[in-house]
Point group: D2
Chain length 107, copies 4
Amino acid sequence: MLAFARERDWEQFHTPKNLSMALAAEAAELMENFLWMTPEDSLQAVNEPGRRTNVENELADVVIYALQFANRTGIDLATAITEKMAQNARKYPVEKARGRSEKYTEL
Amino acid sequence: MLAFARERDWEQFHTPKNLSMALAAEAAELMENFLWMTPEDSLQAVNEPGRRTNVENELADVVIYALQFANRTGIDLATAITEKMAQNARKYPVEKARGRSEKYTEL
Amino acid sequence: MLAFARERDWEQFHTPKNLSMALAAEAAELMENFLWMTPEDSLQAVNEPGRRTNVENELADVVIYALQFANRTGIDLATAITEKMAQNARKYPVEKARGRSEKYTEL
Amino acid sequence: MLAFARERDWEQFHTPKNLSMALAAEAAELMENFLWMTPEDSLQAVNEPGRRTNVENELADVVIYALQFANRTGIDLATAITEKMAQNARKYPVEKARGRSEKYTEL
């Protein structure tokens, strides 16, 4: 990804602001696949051949921009994820959060 | 991540529709850090201590939801990214795209 | 709204790029109220007193930024809406679209 | 707009959850017009003929979904906006906020 951007002299456009916008735009395009469906129907819809290719591409775009953001800002993504999962485990203890979708502030 | 969701009986909420919404919401929160800045200023702002922790957490959330989406839908993320990068290389040949930020349809 | 921005010397920040980011961020915050719910449950949830105030505020923020965007770019919003509704009526004729949520390209 | 949705029997899809997703998706499409530009360049770009039509359509979509959300939830949008502007005036007093883009918690 770094080589891809460098060869095209695109690092000038790849600021944190712009990469976060691109990430948000791709996440919205992924979401658009499921706009008017029930959550259950989305489980089947993701397997329809035409839609699946689009979903794979949009999900890839999301992760590509997330990795470029991490590259550009020097964020160690593995560490950031490990720490966030530990935070989430503290915010949502199993005994309080089981089977509930409320935010931790409402548990 | 799979264990985390299973222990809390959260797989019922983790449909493609809902996970894509959560991903889009976290991407928007990452973006909010840079709302009124110039793109150049966002390069410095990402290093301010308080903001950096928030940025790391929001980026982690984005990737966590992307991985949960891949888990839930059986998408092979590494393959999807490799294929999307190959597509991007065809859409944006170096000689046409160098130093330009236009969409491939306008190059 | 124009007076509010001018008194604070905020017009320098209110470019189309920045206003569209703010609009997208507020739309995501509105959406976050309904993240893990079924669509049906969201009809009741919007009436819970605490949530309703938040939903009203986020919806107001969305429309405030949409109006500021229109002000700043000189877009006549009433005309734009009338024309878009006419386009939608052509894309989604009643006889083809009734009771269906597919995109017009798939009807 | 109410007639448009009713004629197509679309009210079943127009829950707060789904309408907020559609709104967020359209806001992201509006934002995509300005992805890699500087904020200043976006002021000119919005006047390019092809882009302007797209921007007008996406902004119209945003406001259409905001109005449908208000219709469906019984939110009085004029009151919600007036109250939010009053809140904003308290959060951002002119003497503290003039020329500054920080969040009210950082002023």
